[in-house]
Amino acid sequence: MTFSLDQVKLGDKVDAEISRIVAWLTETVRGTLRRRGAVLGLSGGIDSSVVAALCVRAFGKDGVLGLFMNEGESADDTVRLARVVSDHLGIATATEDISGVLDAAGCYRRRDDAIRTVVPAYLADWKCKLVLPSVLESDRYRIYSIVVQSPAGEQVVARLSPAAYLEIVAATSFKQRTRKMLEYFHADRLVYAVAGTPNLLEYDQGFFVKNGDGAADVKPIAHLYKTQVYELAAALGIPDEIRARPPTTDTYSLPQSQEEFYFSLPYDRMDACLYARAHAVPAAEAAAVLGLAPDQIERVYRDIDAKRAAARYLHAPPITLR
């Protein structure tokens, strides 16, 4: 079959897919796991909004708890948009400001100390983010640089040492792990399951923190391309404001798109490349459909393979001797 962008879409199968997921959620959570409902973090993004709506269909609005878990560096509209979703679905919510836990664990201090090893002028009131070079423009390795910005708006870009890079990521991962700890607190007290919210791009490419947002009892959309998650969102009646919001990481203090942090292309083209790679579509054929050069697609394919290889450790459960 000739490769086309439509192959990534569910099209008229959306409603059937929703029914399939809802039946699976009900059977898995209530039957296999013997839990009474689901808890999940709400970010105001498309993925958590769709998972919340699916959980409402499976467990009823009285069987779902949505958590708002902002911290000092969260985007301004995170909680507001998350509340738009919870109000729309009519589910119970709880607010957990995780800034205090993160501060006590040294999340910010450890990260900032690591940043200062490469940018000595960096202070606690500066903002930062990690960025990757574009995979489309050159053969350069996908190695992170740090961008810092002073309160006056002056930006500095610096290459990270291996130690600084690893420490910044390790410290920042306190955010995802703290959120998961609170999700399990509420899950335990309510006898609920924790619903994870990764889509296929994130799940396949390892765009999650091990034992952080990577931890969950069920992952109802981990088999769906992001394009398909948007199709579900429309069918489930997720508010327009959520569906129109560009995907963001909301992990670093400077605004950061998912493309510059992890993926090499906007999500719809990344979906298409992942599909093409999985179905052995020749680079030249994918390039023609996506409006890119074949060597650019080859680089995206190599990046996909490299990330998938790195994700094996993230997916690995604890290994025991038999």
Partner: protein, 83 residues
């Protein structure tokens, strides 16, 4: 320092810092990425190592597989930078 000495030192660094199931199978032409020996964080470690060990500056545009993906490529890159 000859290119052979550089290769020996690089080989020691790779063998010490990355997992090689069979160190003898690492030829001077073995692709680190294709063989899964070194990921992008590992490349960053290689960059830092050659900068510190040989007193060279690696520019962002130098960080490409043509310069870093095998013992041969790395030794050639270091020799070129030192000359």
């Amino acid at each position: 320092m000859s290119e052979n000495e550089i290769k020996t030192r690089l080989r020691e660094f790779v063998a010490k810092n990355f997992y090689l199931p069979d160190p003898k199978a690492l030829t001077d032409q073995t692709s680190f990425l294709d063989q899964g020996i070194i990921d992008s964080t590992g490349v960053l470690e290689l960059v830092t190592f050659v900068e510190n060990e040989y007193g060279i500056a690696v520019a962002d545009d130098d960080m490409v597989p043509a310069n870093f993906d095998s013992i041969d490529a790395l030794a050639g890159f270091v020799a070129k930078k030192r000359s």
